[in-house]
C-alpha cells in the first residue's frame, strides 16, 4: 500500500508553520520564522513546507491531503460582523485589514495550488486544530480537552473530550470574551509587544502582589459555570488597533507604560494581579471540565496553555491526574493539529501518533558542519566522541564559560530544549548578569530557566508526581526546594520557582550526558538552558546562523556536532549584534 502524506499548514495570523505526516507519523515540523529569520513570521510558510517535504524526500504533488488550521471565510465573516456591530468606530480597522484579507487570507486555496500541490485541502476550525494538536499527540486513549487563545474564527475557548481517534467539542466561548486577549491587552498596557512578550509579563508577576484583584474582577467577570465575560468598556480590540480603551487608565489610576521606560511596583503588581486572574479562570474552567467529562486525563492547547506558571498548579488544584500539552501549544502547533485532525478524525485512521520529544526540525550532520567550517576557514577542534564532547562542555560550563549548544534536529515550538540552546553554570550567582550583559541583553527581571535530568526532579523541585510530560517542553513552573535554592541562584526566580525542562537519556543522549558530567563536577544535575538567538531574532536554525550568533555576542564556545569552536580563536569574525537588535 502506498504511503499517505498529510501536510498541515498554519499561516497569516502569527507564527506560520508546517508539519508533514507520513502514514500518521510526524516526519517533520518547523516554524517559518526559523527560515525567514523574521520573528513570528505570519507569511505563507513556503520555506517551512519545503523543508518538511525535503525531509520526506517528496515533491509537492506527492502530498495526498492538506489540513489548513482555520476556516478563513468563517473568520472573515466574524470580522465583518464585528465591524458592523462597532460601526463607525471600526472604520480604521476596516480600511487597515481588508486589503490583506482580499489579497492573501481569502486566497489560501489558490496560494496552495500555486505552490504545486494537487492535494485535497481541508479547512479545520481553529480550535479543533488546537484540540487535535494536543490530544492527538498525547499518550492518552481518552482525555478531556481545553483550548484557550486570543480568538480563532469565533471561539476563544472550547472544551470537549477526545476518545480514541475522535474529538468532540461540546461548548465554546465566543469573541470578544477571551483570556488570551485579556492577557495581551494588559501586556500592551505594560508597554510590551502583543503576541510576542506575554511570557515577559508572566516572568514579571512574581515581583508584585495581587493588589488589583478588584480592578481585574471589574475587567473580567467569572461565572459559576466556569465561563467568563470581559467588560468591554475597558477594551477596544474589537474595533480598533489599540487593545484597551481610555477607561482602563481611569480604572487603574496610572497611564500605560511607555516601551523601554522603567518597570515600577505598579507594573509588577499589575502583572501579578493579571496572573492571579488568569489562573482563577484557567482552574475554574478545568474544574468545570472535570465535572462535565469525569476524565482523569486532560489536554491543553492554545496560546494561553503556554502560561507555564498556571500549568504548574493544575494537577494540585483540579481533580485531574495527568496532563499533556504539546511543545508548540500556540498557533504554530495547530499546523500539526490540522494534519493530525485530517489523518485521524476526517480520514478515520485509528493509528495514533504519540509525541515523545520535540526534535522535528532540520538537523545537520558532521559532514555538513565540517564543510561549513572549512569553507569559512573557521578555527575549530574536532572531538572524537559525543561523550568526550559532553565532558568537555560540562567542564567549560563549570568554568563559567557560556557555551552555544547546536546538536541534532531543531526543536518544534517556542522553547530551546537542548538542540539550539545556550548552556551555562546555574551555580554562579553572577551568571544571570553575565548572560544578560554579554549575550542576551534582556530585561533584568527576566529569569533564566533550568534543565534537569528527570530522575533528579523531586530532589530539587516541589514537582507533581509522576513527572508530567509537559516538563519535557519547559511548560511547567514549580517551586525549587528551599534547601536547594542557594545552590542554583542563577535559575531561581525571585519567588523561588523555576520553569524547568526535564531530560531523559533516551530523548536526547548527548544533552543528558552534559548534565550528568556537570553533576560529577558540581554535584548539581542542572544547567542554565536559554535560547540560542540574537536579541530580536528567532532561534538559530543552521550552522551559519549559530556561528554568526556566537560571534555577535559574548558566547565563549560553540559545540556543534562533533566540533568545538572557540570564539577567541576566530575574533576576525566578531561583530556587535546589539547594534542591529530589534526587540
Amino acid at each position: 500500500m502506498p504511503d499517505t502524506y498529510v501536510l498541515g499548514v498554519s499561516a497569516h495570523y502569527h507564527d506560520s508553520a508546517a508539519c508533514l505526516l507520513k502514514n500518521g507519523e510526524v516526519v517533520a515540523a518547523a516554524q517559518q520564522e526559523r527560515f525567514s529569520r523574521k520573528k513570528h513570521d505570519n507569511g505563507f510558510p513556503k520555506e517551512a513546507i519545503e523543508y518538511c517535504l525535503s525531509e520526506a524526500n517528496i515533491v509537492p504533488a506527492r502530498v495526498d491531503y492538506i489540513g489548513f488550521y482555520e476556516k478563513p471565510f468563517l473568520k472573515f465573516e466574524r470580522l465583518l460582523y464585528q465591524m458592523i456591530d462597532t460601526f463607525p468606530w471600526s472604520a480604521h480597522a476596516f480600511i487597515d485589514s481588508l486589503p490583506s484579507w482580499l489579497s492573501e487570507k481569502l486566497a489560501v486555496p489558490s496560494t496552495i495550488e500555486g505552490h504545486g500541490f494537487k492535494a485535497k485541502t481541508f479547512f479545520v476550525e481553529h480550535h479543533r486544530s488546537h484540540a487535535a494538536g494536543t490530544y492527538l499527540t498525547s499518550p492518552f486513549d481518552s482525555a478531556a480537552i481545553l483550548t484557550m487563545d486570543g480568538v480563532g474564527e469565533w471561539a476563544t475557548t472550547t472544551m470537549g473530550e477526545g476518545k480514541g481517534n475522535t474529538i468532540t467539542l461540546s461548548k465554546e466561548i465566543h469573541f470578544p470574551h477571551s483570556v488570551g486577549l485579556l492577557y495581551s491587552a494588559i501586556t500592551a498596557y505594560l508597554g510590551f509587544s502583543v503576541n510576542n512578550s506575554e511570557y515577559k509579563v508572566m516572568g514579571l508577576a512574581p515581583y508584585g502582589k495581587n493588589t488589583y484583584q478588584k480592578e481585574f474582577d471589574e475587567l473580567m467577570q467569572v461565572f459559576a459555570d466556569g465561563s467568563f465575560a470581559l467588560n468591554m468598556k475597558y477594551f477596544s480590540f474589537h474595533h480598533a488597533k489599540s487593545m484597551f480603551s481610555p477607561e482602563m487608565e481611569s480604572l487603574f489610576g496610572q497611564p500605560p507604560r511607555k516601551k523601554e521606560s522603567a518597570v515600577t511596583e505598579f507594573h509588577q503588581d499589575m502583572a501579578a494581579s493579571l496572573q492571579a486572574k488568569t489562573e482563577e479562570v484557567i482552574l475554574g474552567l478545568l474544574n468545570h471540565l472535570h465535572q462535565e467529562t469525569k476524565q482523569q486525563n486532560v489536554c491543553l492547547s492554545g496560546g494561553v496553555a503556554l502560561n507555564s506558571v498556571a500549568n504548574g498548579k493544575i494537577l494540585r488544584r483540579t481533580p485531574f491526574k495527568r496532563l499533556f500539552i504539546q511543545p508548540a501549544a500556540g498557533d504554530a502547533g495547530s499546523a500539526m493539529g490540522a494534519a493530525l485532525y485530517v489523518h485521524n478524525v476526517i480520514l478515520g485512521n485509528a493509528h495514533r501518533f504519540r509525541m515523545t520529544h520535540a526534535y522535528w526540525g532540520p538537523g545537520f550532520d558532521d559532514v555538513e558542519i565540517r564543510g561549513f567550517l572549512d569553507e569559512k576557514k573557521i578555527n575549530y577542534q574536532s572531538v572524537n566522541s559525543h561523550h568526550a564532547l559532553s565532558k568537555k562542555v560540562a567542564e567549560l560550563v563549570w568554568d563559567n564559560q557560556v557555551v552555544g549548544w547546536f546538536q541534532g534536529r531543531m526543536e518544534w515550538g517556542p522553547r530551546a530544549l537542548g538542540a539550539r540552546s545556550i548552556l551555562s553554570n546555574p551555580c554562579n550567582p553572577e551568571m544571570q548578569n553575565i548572560l544578560n550583559l554579554r549575550v542576551k541583553h534582556r530585561e533584568r527581571f527576566r529569569p533564566f530557566a533550568p534543565v534537569i535530568a528527570e530522575e533528579s526532579i523531586n530532589d530539587w523541585f516541589e514537582a507533581d508526581t509522576p513527572t508530567p510530560d509537559p516538563t519535557d517542553y519547559m511548560l511547567m513552573v514549580y517551586p525549587i526546594k528551599k534547601t536547594k535554592q542557594k545552590k542554583i541562584p542563577a535559575v531561581t526566580h525571585v519567588d523561588g520557582s523555576g520553569r524547568l525542562q526535564t531530560v531523559r537519556k533516551e530523548q536526547n543522549p548527548n544533552y543528558y550526558s552534559v548534565i550528568k558530567e556537570f553533576e560529577k563536577l558540581s554535584g548539581v544535575p542542572i544547567l542554565i538552558n536559554t535560547s540560542f538567538n540574537i536579541r530580536g531574532e528567532p532561534i538559530v536554525c543552521t550552522p551559519a546562523q549559530a556561528y554568526r550568533c556566537m560571534m555577535g555576542t559574548g558566547i565563549d564556545y560553540l559545540a556543534m556536532g562533533s566540533f568545538l569552536i572557540p570564539r577567541k580563536e576566530n575574533l576576525r569574525d566578531a561583530w556587535d549584534s546589539e547594534s542591529i537588535a530589534m526587540d
Binding site: 460582523y81 476550525e125 465561563s227
Partner: protein, 129 residues
Amino acid sequence: MDAGNAFKLVGMGLPIATLVTVMYGFFTGTWHDVFIYVIGLVILTLFFSLVLPRFLPRAETWAIRDGIRSTGERINLILVGLALMLVYVIGVGIVFLSTRIVGKRFMDLHPTHSSWKKCSSVMHDEEMF
C-alpha cells in the same frame, strides 16, 4: 543632503508633478493647454528612470526608482483607502442601520449568567473554506 536623497526627491516629485498637472488641466478645463506639460513630465520621468541609469552610478539610479515607487505606493494607498472608506460607509453603514432597526447584534457583549455556547455544528464540513 546627499546625492542619493536628492535623486530620491526627484523620483518622488516627478509623478506628483505629473498628477498635479493633469488634475489642474482637468478641473480648470485647460487640459489641451497643459497636455504638452504632462507629456514633458512623463518623458522626464521615463528619462530619469530608464535612460539615466545607464550612465549614473548604481546608488543614485536606485534612489530615483525608489522615489518613483514610493510615490506610486502612496497614491495607491490613498486611492485604496478612499475606495474602502466608501465601501465601509455605504456597505457596512447600511447593514449597521438595518441591524439596529431590527435590534440584532452579532456579538454578545453582556452575557449575564454564562457565556458558554454550544459548539457550532454547521461548519463540521471540513472541506468548506
